[in-house]
Symmetry: C2
Subunit: 412 residues, 2 copies
């Protein structure tokens, strides 16, 4: 059975390597289907590469070759990945992708086309790198009504936050180190502003709750504004700051989806997820909390998830997977202003006593936090649960105070 890879970057070359390295094992797992790489599509040339003879730059060779039954898309980005994948599905080829942007934006449409042409469209590698999550949710937890899903879905921001927490680096210093280590792009916006985590939580929300959630409907906040002062206050509160992406089913059938930094208690399974690791917590009615932990990115972990999907395709060529994923609707995602929870607030005021008195009047019961070396006039506290709408109204009415930081508190 022939396979083609589109996009010979980090993940694509990992897929080629893995298909060769664990060949016998993979053939066995594929129920004796031999998986042979026939083409690698890339505009670039790779002189001396062991697969140089397979490299092509013309996509039509793949789509027109009836021997190619499985196509791996590891190009990234929306275009031309979307057009290529669509053409492959319509040509009766199963497609495996690691491209979260493609799945988050076009997942519903591509799954429909796959259904229509009786082929598979699989995307385990699009969330959590090599961590098994898509299949466990859609199969292993199938008997559960899932209420909520939350996770640390971006390794770059988790690396930066870990360095701030454990080594006392500032955000800028930690970002620079992440860039040096190859964990962050020169333009780090997709990671540090939360867009990458947003795409992933959209995919997970669609799987868990059955309807497409489009990234542009999700409130997304990154970690640029996190200061070491906040890290210290989180420690005195008994936890750490993590970038948490979460989706929750509401009683009226809508969903609440959000990406933001959040306080996580030390005893949480998410608190000890450090460096570039990812973890995903799923809360089901029968199972309770389940957590999946592992490397959320990187060449071989991600390639491992891609090849697992390729093996699944080889075993079930004629079958379409049933994800129960319908299109999204206007108003399906509730405004973030409706969501409710406790928050942490750090502020500066000339008259701290008066500011705290006013905070108590505004928020009801508050709990003051302390840290060593706090400058004159700084104070911080946590509130009882408050809706986002009320929160912003209260903060507007809090005069004579400079609010430096507002961070949500999770109950995971």
């Amino acid at each position: 059975m022939y396979v083609a890879i589109m996009g010979y970057g980090v993940v694509g070359s990992g897929v080629a390597t893995l298909l060769k390295k664990n060949y016998e094992h993979i053939v066995k797992k594929s129920m004796q289907n031999e998986l042979e790489l026939k083409y690698i599509l890339d505009r670039r040339t790779f002189p001396g590469d062991p697969y140089e003879h397979l490299l092509i730059s013309d996509f039509t060779k793949i789509v027109e070759d009836d021997e190619v039954k499985i196509v791996v898309e590891t190009m990234g980005g929306l275009h031309p990945a979307y057009e290529y994948v669509l053409a492959c599905l319509k040509a009766g080829k199963s497609v495996v992708t690691s491209n979260k942007e493609l799945v988050a934006v076009k997942g519903f449409e591509l799954l429909q086309v796959a259904d229509e042409y009786n082929v598979n469209f699989l995307f385990e590698a699009s969330v959590g790198g090599g961590i098994p999550i898509i299949r466990p949710i859609s199969q292993c937890l199938a008997a559960n009504d899932i209420d909520e899903i939350a996770g640390i879905l971006n390794g770059t921001t988790n690396f930066i936050l870990t360095k701030m927490i454990t080594d006392g680096m500032t955000f800028d210093e930690a970002l620079l180190l992440a860039q040096k280590n190859g964990y962050a792009e020169r333009d780090p916006s997709a990671d540090v502003d939360g867009f990458d985590a947003c795409r992933k939580i959209c995919i997970l929300a669609a799987l868990c709750f059955g309807k497409h959630v489009y990234p542009d409907s999700v409130y997304t906040e990154g970690i640029r504004k996190i200061a070491l002062a906040d890290v210290d206050y989180a420690r005195s509160w008994g936890g750490v700051i993590k970038l948490i992406a979460r989706a929750k089913k509401l009683e009226d059938g809508r969903v609440s989806v959000m990406v933001s930094p959040a306080f996580v208690q030390n005893h949480s399974q998410l608190a000890s997820v450090d460096d570039v690791f990812n973890a995903i917590l799923v809360r089901g009615d029968a199972i309770g909390d389940v957590v999946f932990y592992g490397k959320g990115a990187g060449k071989m972990p991600t390639a491992s998830a891609v090849v697992a999907d390729v093996i699944d395709c080889a075993k079930h060529m004629e079958r379409k997977k049933f994800f129960g994923w319908q299109d999204g609707e206007a108003d399906y995602v509730a405004s973030y202003l409706e969501s409710t929870g406790s928050v942490y607030i750090r502020a500066i005021a000339d008259d701290v006593a008066a500011a705290i008195a006013k905070a108590t009047a505004l928020f009801g019961e508050i709990k003051l936090l302390s840290r060593d070396g706090a400058p004159e006039g700084e104070f911080a506290f946590t509130t009882a649960p408050v809706s986002e709408k009320e929160l912003s109204e209260k903060l507007e009415g809090w005069n004579g105070v400079s609010v430096e930081s507002v961070i949500r508190i999770t109950d995971y």
Copy 2:
């Protein structure tokens, strides 16, 4: 499509409840196959039970009813579960079980029969309760060469150890509390002596490495001998004591499998697994370390795993799962005496200085540990890696010393 349940205890009644509670959701996930409960086999009577009308005491009704396509076995124990399951498979019915003893002892044979009769034999619930682990290993990590698997697989012992660590209870006190809470049987041997964990690691080892590992070939040590002194020394070392079941592939194709208490470092994902929770760590060549965490036992979590398998059967009636699980061989499991690792040793001597000097001569470099309130003559240390065989020889030659405790140290 009709389903029968054999064994209406905790898990069996959970399966009946869940099939009803999430009926619509489950039918959707089963690709519109309606799953209807037809029989519940139990020798006992359940007056007033909502499923009283389905209760039967005659097994032949199930095996002779061609409408019953899926049989759930939640009886536990080897007999008559084994005979019943065998008869059902041979009658062309798919079987789903939560019975770890059955799978650990008869798994290879039953999978062979299932293959022969072109039906499914699934057992996700037999390890880790509701935690998805069987399917992720056999499918999601299929592209990996798995090197090692280790886990906290028994909730009862983990509850007891957690109470010893966090509340300073003795083993006996914690066991009593576990019994009061319904976490431990009146005869707690299967749990506290490690046999339950042993069966589960045998199943995982078979899945990961492809050959049946029989429980009686596995060195198994429970937690009865763990003292609070050991808990304190583990803390001063920077970790906690957990009952760890582990299986590792050796270079010569054999496997090393062992169940024993072990020191786990605080930063390990396994260290923060408390109370009755379970966690399983899988180490693959491409993926690195992946950890699965959740409730390892209990009515609804376990039922959730059973029903997920039932859904899988409903979707693929004609297909047999391919686990690549062959029979075990003599000498496939290496003697535990061959395994190597650092250990923690606690001892008492009249002449501590001389005993430590002798320990240094025997073990090479050792690291002394301390604890508050240690009695006169007590001391404890950790060693460099040493084989189990050498270890027992060295301990025999260590005169004038009473060795109170020897606990292995993990690198997870």
